[in-house]
């Protein structure tokens, strides 16, 4: 049996805060700390990082003692596929143009859902892409090439 704190919200939340705080404080050591009179660029971030560490310690302790469990179902598939389709959109819009980037984004994100009907999604992607082209490129005049010039 694994220890109870391993699925405690507070424990992991606290750990996240401590890591963030430590990174913030360590990085802030490269910036001048200054004095209370003349605060350097390192002053405010160091204080904030310290605060995060304190909050984190409190939560870790709370999580070790009892704490709420991380509950509910969640979709690992969505967590991976949705950000990935956004990244693909970013890559494609600079290199391939507005239309391919959008098609990939819409089709890709739909694939991240729980219900995935390929034909419906394909039709919907085409429809939505056309709508976005009409709205953003033609009506609002955003200056993006629909298809990149590959020649």
């Amino acid at each position: 049996m694994k220890p109870a704190f391993l699925d405690s919200k507070d424990f992991w939340g606290g750990a996240m805060l401590i890591v963030t705080g430590v990174v913030a404080v360590v990085m802030a050591r490269n910036y001048t700390f200054g004095t209370a009179l003349r605060m350097g660029p390192g002053y405010f971030p160091s204080v904030l990082g310290g605060l995060l560490i304190l909050f984190g310690l409190y939560l870790v302790v709370a999580g070790l003692r009892s704490g709420e469990k991380i509950e509910g179902s969640w979709s690992l598939r969505a967590l991976i596929i949705l950000p990935l389709s956004l990244v693909l959109f970013g890559v494609l819009i600079d290199r391939a143009g507005f239309v391919p980037a959008l098609l990939v984004l819409i089709f890709g994100s739909a694939a991240g859902g729980t219900e995935f009907k390929p034909i419906e999604v394909l039709l919907f992607s085409v429809f939505l892409t056309a709508l976005c082209v009409a709205l953003f490129v033609w009506a609002l005049g955003l200056p993006y090439p629909l298809l990149a010039d590959f020649r």
């Binding site: 913030a24 660029p41 969505a78 959109f89 994100s109």
Partner: protein, 498 residues
């Protein structure tokens, strides 16, 4: 004070064709997302922020505000008709509204909700007009110490009064402040937390954070849950409430408006708290409390008025002090900053058209909502049948185009993806997101004012308690924290959150 003249000036601004059009677009989109579950005003406003680039600041603000209060309206429609709160603020409306609908009284329930909201909206608008100018007047005298203390109070209050774990809210404020200072330090030119990435020297974009956390993160979170099927149980027939209905509703509407206005100016309390408080009070005051939960019209009239009054009054601290009291207000503040306007008390004197135009438009918008909602109720209900599996790819597409259009930068798209994941993780671990956004918006301002205050005082931190106005803010901050540590209050707060 020339309140009347100012209001007329405001209506002149709001009645221009362009502004009327943006108001209409705003309330329509607002109603739409209010009706649709799974997307709220935060995500929508974040998603549409980039579009407001190309319009005038007044029109932008009018539209965004319309989305915000329009969503409260739309949320109650679905609460009454299908027992599904489109927005969290409508959770309370479900209790009696849906029961009324099942008894064949959906029409009167919707009508009373609309009348109550309209009345509350009107009062809210008047309150902004009345209290805005004097508050701004006072705020004009603020120096750096006062601003720092005020922001500290606002952030702490917002974190403490918000639903959820208080420690986590406060931690998220600090997290937001930290994210807010990424980029070039204005005083020294030092790069902070930019990891040598050129794109980060200007800081993390506001839109990137807002869209990532509220639109993308929300979708990832929603996809984990199974889609709820919509079941219609009632048809809307006779829309008009009877004389009896109206008589029973007057008291709750008045009280609800009062309660909502009070909670509205407090930072951190969402409309959900106001409507809940109103429901409890109506139940206590009722001659026969057992009727509640079985279709009491007071249980619709009070909370609906309260949440709309709350929504309107949230604008007071934002417009007069430049202090956002909720996540949506932080987005409004961001929208102003994008337009090159530094929110604060100067806005009212330097850009009067912005303040009075917005105030007037909110009244017009509320009127539009009544007209838009009641006769077209069938259409909105039909929209409920749009399945989420088609909705969320559309949100993804609009978000991506929106973020990209700001700087034509793929880097910002990648950052949005990162914040989407972060938003999801924070949500799962029980960290509230709105306090983070408040901190993010206020981070640079707070640091700047702290530094200036310390320079002013020669490095003596007692400056914050030696100046009377600043002392009041600091004392209030301490008081809020102390009160919250008292175990009974903490328990009460946890009860209410359930």
């Amino acid at each position: 004070m020339d309140l009347f003249g100012n209001l007329i000036f405001g209506f002149q601004v709001a009645f221009s064709l362009q502004n009327l059009l943006y108001c209409l677009i705003g309330v329509t989109v607002g109603t739409l997302i209010g009706v649709l579950p799974g997307i709220g005003p935060l995500g929508t406003i974040a998603m549409l922020l980039p579009i407001t680039y190309s319009v005038s600041p007044v029109a932008a603000l009018i539209m965004l505000a319309g989305i915000y209060y329009g969503a409260q309206y739309g949320g109650s429609t679905t609460a009454i008709l299908v027992n599904l709160p489109g927005e969290t603020s409508a959770v309370v409306t479900c209790i009696d509204g849906y029961q009324m609908a099942r008894q064949g009284r959906a029409g009167p329930a919707l009508a009373i909700a609309a009348i109550g909201s309209f009345f509350a909206g009107t009062v809210g608008t008047l309150l902004i007009a009345l209290f805005g100018p004097p508050l701004a007047e006072i705020a004009l005298k603020f120096g750096s110490p006062e601003y720092f203390s005020l922001m500290l109070m606002g952030l702490v209050a917002a974190a403490v009064l918000a639903q959820g774990d208080m420690m986590k809210s406060l931690a998220m404020v600090a997290m937001g402040l930290l994210l807010g200072i990424v980029g070039t330090d204005v005083n020294t030119g030092v790069q902070r937390y930019s990891f040598g990435i050129t794109e980060l020297t200007d800081g993390i974009g506001f839109i990137v954070v807002a869209v990532g956390v509220f639109a993308i993160g929300e979708i990832v979170s929603n996809l984990g849950e199974t889609e709820k099927r919509i079941v219609f149980t009632s048809r809307v027939t006779n829309l008009f409430p009877s004389k009896e209905d109206l008589k029973q509703s007057i008291g709750p509407i008045l009280r609800g408006t009062g309660i909502g206005s009070f909670f509205g100016v407090l930072p951190g309390t969402g409309p959900a708290i106001a409507s809940f408080a109103s429901y409890m009070i109506e139940k206590k005051l009722a001659a026969d409390p057992s009727r509640f939960g079985k279709g009491a019209i007071e249980g619709v009239a009070g909370p609906e008025s309260a949440n709309n009054a709350d929504a309107q009054c949230k604008f007071i601290p934002m417009l007069t002090l430049g202090l956002p009291a909720s996540g949506v207000m932080a987005l409004m503040l961001g929208a102003l900053q994008i337009q090159g306007i530094q929110p604060g008390p100067e806005v009212m004197s330097q850009r009067p058209e912005l303040f009075w135009g917005l105030v007037a438009s909110m009244w017009i918008g509320n009127l539009m909502l009544v007209v838009l909602n009641l006769p077209m109720i069938g259409l909105w209900v039909k929209l409920l049948q749009v399945p989420y599996r088609l909705l969320f790819p559309a949100i993804m597409a609009f978000s991506a185009i929106g973020v990209y259009s700001v700087n034509n930068s793929s880097f910002e798209i990648y950052m949005t993806a990162i914040f989407g994941v972060l938003g999801f993780v924070w949500m799962r671990l029980g960290f509230p997101l709105a306090p983070m956004l408040l901190g993010f918006v206020l981070g640079p301002l707070m640091e700047e004012n702290l530094r200036r205050a310390m320079l002013m005082s020669g490095g003596d931190p007692s400056v914050f308690v030696r100046r009377p106005i600043s002392l009041v803010f600091i004392a209030a901050t301490v008081l809020i924290l102390v009160v919250m540590v008292v175990p009974t209050v903490r328990k009460r707060r946890a009860d209410i959150a359930d």
